[in-house]
């Protein structure tokens, strides 16, 4: 039905959304409103070149290099530019730092804003109705449902990315990482930490 089935999932034969997507693709290509090559390039770029490994490099460098960390907290976009990072949906970046007494968590209640250039496309739960509706109202409960129970004495700060600023959480460096290089540090960073649904 289409040429872009790069992955192992498949459409249900009679899913009307699949039929409509194929129809729209065919119409747009016929009218010259979309370049078939651009479709493939876009999917390749987002699926194979973006992802949490980029954000993890930023976190690892901040953990390893106090000067970089200061620059990152001061002007996120310039600092990640030092690593050649930036990219889509990162027009202005604010990095918020977890500390022993503060936990940050990011959401977009109105749609699904997310720092694509650092984390790739968001997982389905980030865009889900329960996450969007509940995390601004009862973040401790939502995080607990996701396996992250925060002690009462930790301040919880929720960031609703309602404009074009993108938020990114700098987690605390684990205590058992002395002497590790940036690559080894990056391997310890999870996407969930950079969203703020893990500690």
């Amino acid at each position: 039905m289409n040429d872009h089935d790069h992955d192992h999932d498949h459409d249900h034969v009679d899913d009307p959304r699949a039929l409509r997507a194929d129809a729209l693709e065919a119409i747009l290509i016929e009218r010259g409103l979309v370049d078939p090559a651009a479709i493939d390039q876009t999917l390749d770029y987002f699926q194979n070149h973006l992802g949490p490994m980029l954000g993890a490099r930023v976190v690892a460098k901040a953990w390893a290099d106090p000067g970089f960390k200061n620059r990152l907290l001061d002007d996120g976009l310039s600092a990640i530019g030092e690593l050649g990072l930036g990219g889509p949906q990162v027009d202005h970046l604010v990095v918020v730092e977890n500390t022993p007494g503060v936990h940050n968590v990011v959401v977009c209640t109105l749609c699904s804003c997310y720092p694509w250039g650092l984390l790739g496309l968001p997982p389905a739960w980030y865009k889900s109705l329960p996450y969007r509706s509940r995390v601004v109202r009862e973040p401790r409960v939502v995080l607990a449902e996701m396996g992250c129970v925060l002690p009462d004495e930790i301040d919880v700060r929720v960031w609703d990315s309602s404009a074009e600023v993108r938020y990114f959480v700098l987690p605390e460096r684990p205590g058992d990482t002395d002497g590790l290089g940036e690559d080894a540090l990056a391997a310890r960073v999870t996407r969930d930490q950079m969203i703020g649904v893990a500690r």
Partner: protein, 209 residues
């Protein structure tokens, strides 16, 4: 608009479901790629507004990329780039056909570059100031969610100026506005909770407390 998308703080959606996938089926990839690549007159703001304008039952019932697919079809129809029934005919079904209320205005050109703008004028508010989110109910696109309207918060960061979604979504100009991170206490928003909620608000959404 006071639309179905404005769900921050709503009850009733049930427990978190840890669905880690980005795409669940090829049609979701197509919806994403076509939305990204289609060369139509428009912008991110009118795209978001097209999603917001989808019939509320469609909005809640569709998966995430079902909304993108619906918004794309609506935008193509509204620009007369496709006939009203063309997708139905081509797909051989009118199931999952998106309906949407009309926009008060569509963009007349697609802007170049990102949304950050440099303004000569000074910011109206400064860090540490207490402000009130205005109780606005614009009929068009806005990024002022219902849950902060009428509430008091504190400016914690000043951001650059950005293209104003409330006008840009409708072809009424870029009208760039300063943006502020405004921190609200959960207990003030919901009557309970010990956390804070920070949200980025455009200057016209705010008034001095």
């Amino acid at each position: 608009m006071d639309g179905i998308h404005d769900i921050g703080g709503m009850n009733g959606f049930g427990p978190m479901v840890r669905d880690e996938q980005v795409f669940h089926a090829p049609w979701e990839r197509i919806a994403f790629a076509l939305s990204s690549c289609a060369e139509i007159v428009g912008n991110t703001d009118d795209f978001r507004h097209a999603i917001e304008r989808l019939d509320p039952a469609f909005y809640l019932g569709a998966d995430y990329y079902g909304r993108w697919l619906g918004a794309l079809e609506v935008r193509l129809r509204e620009r007369a780039l496709i006939d009203s029934d063309e997708v139905d005919q081509r797909a051989g079904t009118s199931d999952a056909r998106p309906r949407a209320i009309a926009s008060p205005g569509l963009p007349t050109r697609s802007p170049d570059g990102g949304p950050v703008r440099v303004l000569e004028r000074r910011r109206r508010f400064s860090v540490g100031q207490t402000v009130r989110a205005r109780d606005l109910h614009p009929v068009g696109h806005t990024r002022l969610p219902g849950y902060v309207r009428g509430h008091h918060g504190t400016i914690t960061m000043t951001h650059p100026a950005f293209v104003y979604p409330d006008t840009n979504a409708h072809g009424w100009g870029e009208d760039p506005q300063y943006v502020y991170a405004v921190q609200f206490a959960a207990t003030d928003l919901w009557g309970e909770g010990d956390h804070s909620v920070s949200i980025d608000l455009f200057e016209p959404y705010l008034e001095p407390a």
